[in-house]
Symmetry: C2
Subunit: 409 residues, 2 copies
């Protein structure tokens, strides 16, 4: 039946010729991007009227730019070439197995690739998306949906008494969950500007966990991805504030002063999960980690509740403990008795893993180096992982992949 | 802590001046769209280099175009005006409470509104999205997230023995589900080119159900939104076929011949839901409805399993029962003994509601009129709803809203 209906529609559309309709379908006249057999990728943009078409994205070499805050990565830009039909193309060098995001720039207008429906949202920036899959076990393979058992992903509303509101979170339950029991729980926290949708989309959490569990490299676990902004209920568009434009630079909901901080209220999440899911309820079966602001949250949550988490992960963590932020973080730490006592209590309880990961060009590198220096002096055990690149999702997917293999074992 | 990290990032970004970076952030220099207090909507596009900027979308008056298949709706187009800063603007007339989708056309390139992160995917077309909320109980209000108890939405993998694969579906559980029991189930089916993500996104299923349940206009129910393409496992990008470009015109997976049709295999879905969710398992607590191809599926499923569903809804249904498709559907019906017998059995069992809805300019209007003529002749009871407009999501959201209020009562 489907074919019949489609052919009816095709006839109807084919007979309708008009400017807008042509524009609406113009993007589909080409296939883009195409991952070629040699690992290069070809981008094709149908833009007969354009004077200049470029592509910018994470697949191009980045340039490091010096700023007062340290080095910052500038995305590369490449020019496309036009053929006689008005199709502009560019073919990359052979790319390593990875997930890439990009935009097209047509006469100065930044846009998505019109022929690619896969869209990535990072705060307020939309990019097109592709994966170079590569060999089994490579990054691109781990970030892909493969022929393995799949876990489920739910958007769940829970009550946070401490924040005085219902809030939304993403929860991954592993393959076989309905028949299983006693799962450990990983709490996985996003960065500033992000929300409960960040890890399941940009972080490829579902694919990474499905693939690691299928390969026997991670144990089946529940993964809880809450919203880390204590002043809002949910991701943009998913709560009554409406379809506002998310921002990296300002508070999510400047009209409201949160009743508590994210780390103060964190047990509301744990309590909900442990009363609604088939999970273990002890320290040995709880892990907390996060990126950037979420790394800071993990730092605070783990020391605020030192008997709750045996596995702690700081991914490019943004650490803030008050005081004069022009001072080195090491000095702030040495001057803050409360934080020092909390850390002493945490490490006295011997957490099984305190994992710190950061990129060598991350603007938060020094903060994290200061934390490690302090831990070294105190004899607090931690595992350190340094990657290349900066404060980027490529690193956070790597850190999740590695951290998930170390916990609950 | 969040503010501190953000200010660090802001400083870093502010000092990095470069073409690509400027382009990346250019869309955020304006706010667009803005719903004004008088109900008009202003679109603003920063495009200093552009010669011509237009907007096209469902908020503009459509023009009906004659085609061999009947009338077809052509989207309206409006020109934006440029100011001295390179910002192009257009303000609509006052719009009724509704959800609208649109695109911007910059020098012939169709694109999303760069300042709007809310994106709607319809098969392979991406559009920007906004809602004019309006009064309580209006369409825009029903499609919005309001301060009401929220149900959860899960992406669930189930086993379909008849199709020989694991498949993905979207399942809405109403507010209070964890504490409740014995819920009725609505099976809600998408159209050709669609998938299990269509109803939760374009159909605003979660918002409509949350709002109707909160208002006491619909009973709390589980809503199951499966993938109606028997030749694939899941939505594009969500199964191992990878990030292919979805198409309206061809089969989802032309490489594979499905082992069964969607309606033949439908009890695989019902069996999974009834063994994994807290639902009633009788005819009085099952409803099936769908749009276009999914309306056809509902037609076939309900007569194939005449003792299973007390509530049946055909939304702009695409009806196909084999035979020569150049013949009127009425003649096909009269010539098909099997279908006639199935319908006779179905109506002999007195379903509580057989609901048919269609737009007066829908290209499938005549088919559905033929079905009604046949039902009238046979004395089969049904409820008929005709709206203006054609084969469009605006109608399907209306039909879901109305149908959901009629079932399980």
């Amino acid at each position: 039946m489907k074919r019949t209906i489609l052919s009816l529609v095709a006839v109807a559309l084919a007979t309708v010729t008009m400017t807008a309709q042509e524009a609406l379908w113009s993007g589909t006249q080409v296939q883009s991007p195409v991952v070629n057999v040699d690992g290069t990728v070809t981008f094709s943009i149908f833009a007969p009227q354009a004077q200049k078409v470029q592509v910018t994205g994470t697949f191009l070499p980045t340039k490091m730019v010096e700023t007062p805050m340290g080095k910052w990565e500038q995305p590369g830009v490449a020019d496309l070439q036009k053929d006689e039909k008005g199709v502009w193309t560019f073919t990359s060098t052979a790319l390593e197995s990875e997930l890439y995001t990009y935009n097209v720039i047509v006469d100065g207008m930044l846009m998505l690739d019109p022929a690619n429906v896969y869209v990535n949202r990072d705060v307020a920036s939309l990019t097109s998306l592709f994966i170079v899959k590569g060999e089994k076990g490579s990054k691109g393979d781990l970030y892909s949906v493969n022929e393995v058992p799949h876990g489920n992903l739910a958007k769940v509303w829970y009550d946070s008494p401490m924040l005085g509101m219902k809030r939304r979170m993403s929860i991954y339950t592993p393959p076989g969950y309905d028949e299983g029991k006693d799962y450990p729980v990983l709490y996985l926290l996003h960065g500033a500007g992000g929300d409960e949708d960040a890890w399941p989309t940009q972080g490829r959490t579902v694919q990474i966990l499905d693939n690691l569990i299928a390969a026997g490299k991670a144990v089946p676990m529940v993964v809880v991805m809450p919203n880390g902004n204590a002043d809002c209920q949910a991701a943009p568009g998913e709560w009554p504030r409406g379809m506002y434009q998310p921002s990296f630079m300002e508070s999510v909901n400047p009209r409201t002063q949160p009743k508590a901080t994210m780390d103060e209220s964190f047990m509301d999440i744990v309590n909900y999960v442990e009363s609604h899911f088939k999970v273990r309820k002890d320290k040995a079966h709880r892990a907390v980690c996060g990126l950037s602001m979420g790394g800071g949250h993990s730092f605070h949550i783990s020391k605020r509740f030192p008997d709750k988490f045996d596995y702690i992960g700081l991914f490019s963590a943004g650490l803030h403990i008050g005081g004069d932020q022009t001072k080195a973080f090491y000095d702030l730490l040495k001057g803050n008795d409360t934080v020092q006592k909390q850390l002493a209590t945490l490490f006295a309880a011997n957490p099984k893993l305190y994992w710190i990961g950061i990129g060598e060009t991350d603007f938060l590198y020094r903060q994290n180096a200061d934390l490690r220096r302090y831990f070294d002096e105190k004899g607090y055990k931690y595992t350190y992982r340094e990657t290349d690149g900066g404060h980027i999702w490529r690193n956070w997917r790597i850190y999740l992949t590695e951290f998930a293999q170390l916990i609950f074992k």
